[in-house]
């Protein structure tokens, strides 16, 4: 485990955090705008967040 790899993984995790934060925030806005489409928005949000999360895990395990 080298320092650059760990820093790189950290950067990826920051990116993933920002990404998931964006998805969550936008989903909230969308729900606020259209509360009746709550279910659909939530599903789409979870899928997108799950995909991004996968990249984060990939980075973490690559370092490990």
């Amino acid at each position: 485990m080298t320092i650059p790899a760990i820093v790189g993984a950290g950067l990826v995790v920051i990116g993933v955090g920002i990404g998931i934060g964006q998805i969550g925030g936008k989903a909230m806005e969308a729900i606020a705008r259209q509360p009746e489409s709550y279910g659909k928005i939530q599903t789409a949000m979870l899928i997108a967040a799950a995909l991004i999360e996968g990249i984060g895990f990939a980075a973490l395990f690559a370092v490990q």
């Binding site: 979870l46 999360e53 895990f57």
Partner: protein
């Protein structure tokens, strides 16, 4: 209502925390930090015996409270013996003329004196037998399976007795079953085909949820945080998805553009598109298994590290602080236990939905492209 829940959670935590803590209340000669690290490492791994806690007695010896589990090995013949014979890695076991030693939660074949050879990175190079032991995790899977079977068999029976209305604990579980049917299976798979997938979705949801919750109890099992478990679960999702895939599902992978373009124009696109789609088939279950594994593993590491911090600080400021943090993380972990089970079930249902895609959906899709 909310206060009631809080009180209950508090009670749960009171049961969890002291027991987990007592497990590592053990002052040896080793450095405290290394010891805690080792303890966490040990906790995260599967083990061959079910130890509730260990302590160092007045005589300086390690004492383990727990019970042995059967070890089943295949190495030029079947070897079955109780895990207690290993004495927690301290002794070499002889079975049918072969010698086995437990080293870092793994069983290695050794000579009679139990020599372990190492490579330059300090990894053991001894031969490993095929280990089919009933380990702690397998034991917990059996317990969870039995619990689930009797719980839901009981729930099914109350319907017959009580004229279609559940009673007792079923009143708690029935809405969850209905939630999985109405909010996970139906919208994602479709009204026509969801029935076929319901047993798997229900079983996988309750299995993961119960094991996640067990992971938070003082039993200290980390079953769903084990890559082999999540791989097995994700592989089932993978096989069900691809074996129930309709013609449209495969068409979507190998001919995603359909008739919207002449075949000659599709070739350069397909050189890129088809590998991505095919890769997607494998990435989907892979992300499922990594997500569940990593979430549970990370939760356990954080929780145990915070509990370990209490023993490193050992003062009136640091220890209560880490206790408070550990408490908060425990509450979050209870939520995560449910959330991860939900996500796994939800994404499985979503993948099944892709696989069970109906023709009219594909037609609508094509119409959309033509419209554009």
């Amino acid at each position: 209502m909310q206060r009631k829940i809080l009180v209950r959670l508090l009670l749960i935590f009171i049961f969890i925390a002291p027991l987990s803590v007592s497990a590592k209340d053990d002052t040896g000669n080793k450095d405290k930090k290394t010891e805690i690290k080792e303890y966490i490492d040990h906790h995260l791994k599967d083990s061959h015996d079910f130890s509730l806690y260990s302590y160092t007695g007045d005589d300086g010896q390690h004492h383990y409270v727990g019970f042995s589990l059967p070890v089943i090995l295949w190495s030029d013949g079947l070897h079955v013996f109780a895990s207690g014979k290993f004495h927690h890695g301290e002794e070499v076991v002889e079975s049918n003329g072969k010698y086995f030693k437990l080293y870092h939660s793994k069983i290695y074949e050794t000579d009679a004196s139990g020599t372990i050879n190492y490579d330059e990175e300090h990894h053991a190079t001894n031969a490993k037998p095929l280990d089919l032991s009933i380990t702690k995790s397998v034991f917990m899977i059996i317990i969870t399976g039995l619990l689930m079977f009797f719980l839901f068999r009981g729930l099914a029976r109350t319907y017959g007795k009580n004229n279609g209305i559940p009673s007792g604990i079923g009143r708690f579980f029935e809405p969850i079953v209905l939630y999985i049917r109405d909010d996970i299976a139906r919208p994602n798979i479709g009204e026509k085909k969801y029935r076929k997938y319901m047993p798997f979705l229900l079983t996988v949801f309750f299995f993961i949820w119960f094991l996640n919750i067990f992971g938070l109890t003082p039993l200290g099992v980390n079953v769903t945080g084990n890559i082999a478990i999540t791989t097995a679960l994700a592989l089932l999702t993978f096989f069900i998805t691809n074996f129930t895939g309709t013609k449209d599902y495969w068409k979507h992978i190998f001919d995603p553009l359909g008739d919207s373009m002449p075949w000659i124009a599709k070739i350069p696109l397909y050189i890129i598109l088809i590998p991505i789609e095919v890769l997607g088939i494998f990435i989907k279950p892979f992300s499922l298994l990594i997500r569940l594994y990593a979430n549970m593993q990370a939760g356990h590491i954080v929780l145990m590290s915070l509990i370990g911090l209490m023993f490193i600080f050992k003062n009136w400021i640091g220890s209560p602080l880490s206790f408070g943090l550990a408490f908060a993380i425990s509450l979050i972990e209870i939520l995560v236990a449910l959330l991860q089970a939900y996500i796994f079930t939800m994404l499985s249902a979503l993948y099944f939905g892709f696989a069970a895609e109906d023709h009219d959906h594909a037609e609508a899709h094509e119409g959309e492209i033509q419209h554009l």
